[in-house]
């Protein structure tokens, strides 16, 4: 610990400042013979996807940094313009693949906003429930891969074992583990099965014990604390200027949570107390996600207790497929079904922005419609793209090992960033 020279450790415990002239680039000192260019990625073991960091090092200290993105640029937004609104939902979860349901949800919410379609209460509660399950899923992956980034492999196995339990619930309701396309315009694709309540409560009970174990496992571990305490400090002002939302901002003292302060769906009816930590360092960003997992378990139980009965999707037959049994008896239902499947429903022209509190921060969808049956322009507000701008400023003068810790603590997702 004391082997590095004092001047090399200068940047480690200092709060980050917005860089200038380019906010996302740490410009290395010109013609310094002691520096070396190191390329991390696009393939490297820290599994945040295919991010490429081009770092300039002086010994072990980072003196220059910029990101190269686009290694998984998929053209999702353009592909969505080619399909009808219904078929385009399938593309959405592939963007942020660790929070796939949140992507589907925000796109469906944007379409419902343009249609001015009211979603029934039970559907809102089911959506909120899966949103929280999604948060659990994402934070478990974060903890597992974040721990392996710092060198502790054990948590990877524990967290992925828990993740499989959460995915069991997705499979129970949606039919597939990932990318279940469970959110539908007007509600959810199908009602949760009868066993869902029992299974979900069992998963919640099991995960409560595990989350306590994880909090002890990393929170009290001296190596973990040394590597993360006081590193990569984000101040509230930095968070505001660099567009950070979600756990990254709340770990820095910013009291902002869409579920509490701009509630949507079932969050209007339940009370979510945002968890806010004050130090804004890597340690806080890890611990806040552990606390948020616990909070999600509480919210899931609250939602299971109060889950209202009723339809799971809107009743508007011009947008939503009629139930299959009606096709045998009602001519209108048959026509609705035929038209909706072959042509799709038209959405009135306009522009709408829908947002959810995703596991990474504000996940938004800016949808422009031209009155036809295909979206004119879909744009996802990506929390990862915005947060990756902060990496260079946060890594100003830190050691290369801290760079990995800081990047892991921000929890970017390259599918979300590049789309």
């Amino acid at each position: 610990m004391a082997s590095t020279l004092p001047e090399q450790r200068a940047g480690r415990h200092v709060p980050a400042e917005v860089l200038s002239p380019i906010p996302s680039v740490l410009i290395p000192p010109a013609d310094d013979p002691d520096t070396m260019l190191l390329n991390l990625g696009p393939n490297h073991p820290s599994t945040h996807g295919v991010l490429r960091l081009v770092a300039t090092l002086n010994g072990e200290t980072v003196v220059g940094l910029h990101n190269e993105l686009g290694y998984v640029h998929t053209g999702i937004e353009k592909n969505m313009e080619q399909k009808s609104y219904w078929k385009a939902i399938t593309y959405a979860p592939r963007a942020d693949y660790n929070s796939f349901f949140s992507n589907e949800l925000v796109y469906c919410m944007a379409v419902e906003k343009l249609l001015e379609l009211e979603v029934p209460r039970r559907a809102e509660w089911i959506r909120a429930l899966f949103n929280e399950l999604q948060r659990l899923h994402n934070h478990l992956i974060f903890l597992g891969t974040g721990s392996i980034d710092l060198g502790g492999i054990a948590l990877l196995f524990y967290c992925f074992r828990e993740r499989d339990r959460v995915l069991d619930l997705f499979e129970l309701a949606g039919g597939v583990r990932m990318h279940a396309r469970y959110a539908q315009v007007g509600g959810v694709a199908e009602d949760v099965p009868a066993a869902f309540d029992r299974e979900a409560r069992a998963v919640v009970k099991e995960l409560r014990k595990r989350v306590d174990e994880y909090e002890d496992l990393i929170g009290q571990q001296p190596i973990f604390r040394d590597r993360t305490k006081g590193i990569g400090i984000i101040t509230p002002d930095f968070a505001r200027q660099m567009g950070l939302t979600g756990p990254n901002a709340r770990a820095s003292g910013v009291d902002w949570d869409l579920r509490a302060h701009a509630p949507y769906g079932a969050y209007r009816e339940i009370n979510v107390q945002p968890i806010v930590l004050q130090n804004g360092d890597v340690y806080d960003r890890y611990m806040i996600r552990v606390f948020e997992m616990r909070q999600s378990l509480d919210i899931i139980e609250q939602l299971l207790d109060g889950l209202p009965s009723g339809p799971w999707i809107a009743d508007d037959r011009k947008v939503v497929l009629p139930p299959r049994h009606e096709l045998h008896t009602s001519m209108e239902s048959l026509i609705h079904h035929f038209k909706l499947v072959t042509e799709g429903y038209r959405v009135p022209a306009g522009e709408a922005y829908a947002y959810v509190e995703g596991p990474r921060g504000e996940l938004g969808c800016n949808l422009v419609s031209d009155g036809s049956a295909k979206p004119w322009r879909v744009h996802f507000r990506s929390a990862s793209l915005v947060m990756l701008q902060s990496v260079a400023a946060l890594c100003n003068g830190v050691l290369i090992a801290d760079l990995i810790a800081i990047l892991a603590s921000l929890d970017p997702n390259m599918g979300d960033c590049d789309r």
Partner: protein, 196 residues
């Protein structure tokens, strides 16, 4: 709530002067601005409490509402006016939709005021034709850095005053801007599959 946002938008529009227009639809307030004044408008909005930039989205309105009119009509509660059953190519929608602006590209900025309860959202929007530059807002909101680069890379909208405007997703030598409407979707032709 949107009445308060409307009032804020009108104050900002007054500060900008000519070319600023406030509109409201579905609870969202949009302020259309000239493209050389967007940084001033963002600074004014920041002063009015909208100190957080959520999103920067570029849209190409080339061919808006001219194609793809087929489709089952939307929920009748959203239609005002009568259904014109005799309109050619229509399944009931009476009016033909016009694009909301007169130029090809639009850039929408989503601003957020987090201190008010409930929180307020405002959309600023500028219009530009092919090749016309939009004023960059990186000086006001540093988090617009990558987002403006994305709009340049995928839509081809240049931003005046951006410190390092270069491609972000596509490789350096890529030709064209894929999210434009006249850029083909690409891919390979697959036998027997003409529908996309």
């Amino acid at each position: 709530m949107s009445a308060l946002v409307q009032a804020d938008a009108e104050r900002i529009a007054a500060a900008i002067g000519a070319g600023a227009k406030v509109s409201q639809a579905r609870g969202e307030v949009t302020l259309d601005l000239p493209r050389e004044r967007i940084a001033d408008a963002c600074a004014a909005a920041r002063g009015a409490g909208y100190d957080f930039l959520c999103d920067l989205a570029a849209t190409d309105y080339l061919g808006f509402a001219s194609e793809g009119v087929a489709g089952y009509w939307g929920s009748p509660s959203t239609m005002d006016g009568e259904r014109d059953l005799n309109h050619p190519g229509s399944t009931g929608l009476g009016a033909v939709v016009a694009p909301p602006g007169d130029k090809r590209f639009a850039v929408s900025y989503q601003l957020l005021d987090r201190t008010s309860r409930p929180a307020r959202r405002l959309r600023l929007r500028v219009w530009a034709d092919d090749g016309e530059a939009v004023q960059s807002i990186v000086g006001v909101f540093p988090c617009a850095d990558y987002q403006e680069r994305e709009a340049w890379d995928l839509m081809g909208i240049p931003f005046d005053g951006h410190p390092a405007l270069e491609r972000i997703f596509l490789p350096e030598g890529w030709d064209g801007h894929p999210h434009r409407k006249d850029y083909p979707i690409g891919g390979e032709p697959v036998q027997f599959s003409d529908a996309v």
